[in-house]
Amino acid sequence: MEDGSRRVAELDTGFFVRWLTETASAVDREADRLTELDSAIGDADHGSNLRRGFTAVTAALTDKPPPSPGAALGLAGRTLVSKVGGASGPLYGTLLRRTGRELGDAATVSREELARAMSTGVEAVAALGGAAEGDKTMLDALLPAVRALPESFTAARRAAAEGAVGTVPMRARRGRASYLGERSIGHEDPGAASSLLLVAALERSWEAADE
């Protein structure tokens, strides 16, 4: 179904907890594929690292149910920073923490507000990693997704999917794949692939709210 056009998107804490647990399930399902992508141009641990992190996120959300959307993202971000390590821990941790901070204490937020907050979060990731669109990183999925998010969750997921596939012909300029030079061409970036899982989980969480 197409989302958003038929009703105003008011996203509550339940939506955000569902988003994070949906992401955790997707990461768990796709961990081997992420690791496989990472072994082509990286160091073959992206799936197992994110699985460890998001498993801890799910546990933390159950342990300490967050009072607001912003608190849910803050808790998830802090958990990723303290459990994942590598580059993906600080990068995904920063994305969620900064997005959460932008949302403040609001009990519900609109999709447009989420898009603005996520945009700030993605900019923080770009600053931390020193990367830009086209460098064959997670940003190549996240930036198009955030631009499409005001339209609908489905549009965001499609944009992220196109962005992830779009990393295949790119030459990596940041992260461990950059050491390969020309030989990084022809492989999908594992960070863009995991970012698509995060964005796709947004759409699923929204559909679940409808049921």
């Binding site: 072994s39 690292n49 461990r176």
Partner: protein, 333 residues
Amino acid sequence: MKMLINAPERVVEDALRGMAAAHPELVVDVENRVVIRRDAPVAGKVSLVSGGGSGHEPLHAGFVGRGMLDGACPGEVFTSPVPDQALRAAAATDSGSGVLFVVKNYTGDVLNFDMAMELAEDEGVRAARVLVEDDVAVTDSLFTAGRRGTGGTLFVEKLAGAAAEEGAPLETVEALARRVAGACRSYGVALSPCSTPAKGGPTFDLPAGELELGIGIHGEPGRERRAMMTSAEIAEVTVDALLEDLGDSATEHPFLALVNGMGSTPLLELYGFNAEVRRVLAARGVVVARTLVGNYVTSLDMAGCSVTLCEVDEELLRLWDAPVSTAALRWGC
């Protein structure tokens, strides 16, 4: 791929339990993944703390002890530690004289140690950082994450560790560590890929009869693949890559040389390779003052080798010869 493990997710924890059992002179916090020397904090001494992904043993925990590191924090296999670990190692070893973090230049290590630095300063620990970026195979620094930290890490940790042991203040130890990091050049070659426990098999394909030049220490493929060469030919390629980067300064000072195994190349082959490396260096007019041969900065079970050259003066040579007592390096005491 058969591995001597219980389960992939327990590899680091099991190794730390074993390290604790073998080395009573170390305090091993298995749960929090921190290894410190038992006499830490040492009064009046700057603390040296390093860490990084596991899979490079004996780096870093094997270098904890008198004359080298005060603390180490191992991450998951090939994954940098989290900020909490580095903070814990710093706080447990700081005598009040400050902490120097030795960080290999990888995006994850830099991000996590930067966060640890901020947390340490929040807790009143004076902290500084030195970045090791010695891998000359990464030529295009503008279009990559920069040169990787590899074998040069051992020289930074040994020489700065010796200076700290002598009581040098933080600013001096930091400046010395930076000078050593700038004086190191490394180049590595893989004869086989490595197998990570998480993947359970090789991280890339390397056909029989070929070798990979310019590899890092994370099982990532290198920059160029060629038909297999002899030890003498590999030494030529390796030394030339190092000397090209060093330029004219290569014949002005003596060097420390590390001929390092990547994990599954026998010492018999490494010593043979060292003979070839020394022959090529001599032919190019380069003087080697001290040599270390062995598996020190490894990449799990990868076959292959790397060579690190570290340009030294009399002061650095004296610090190299200074006593060291760790699980993996021990002399003079």
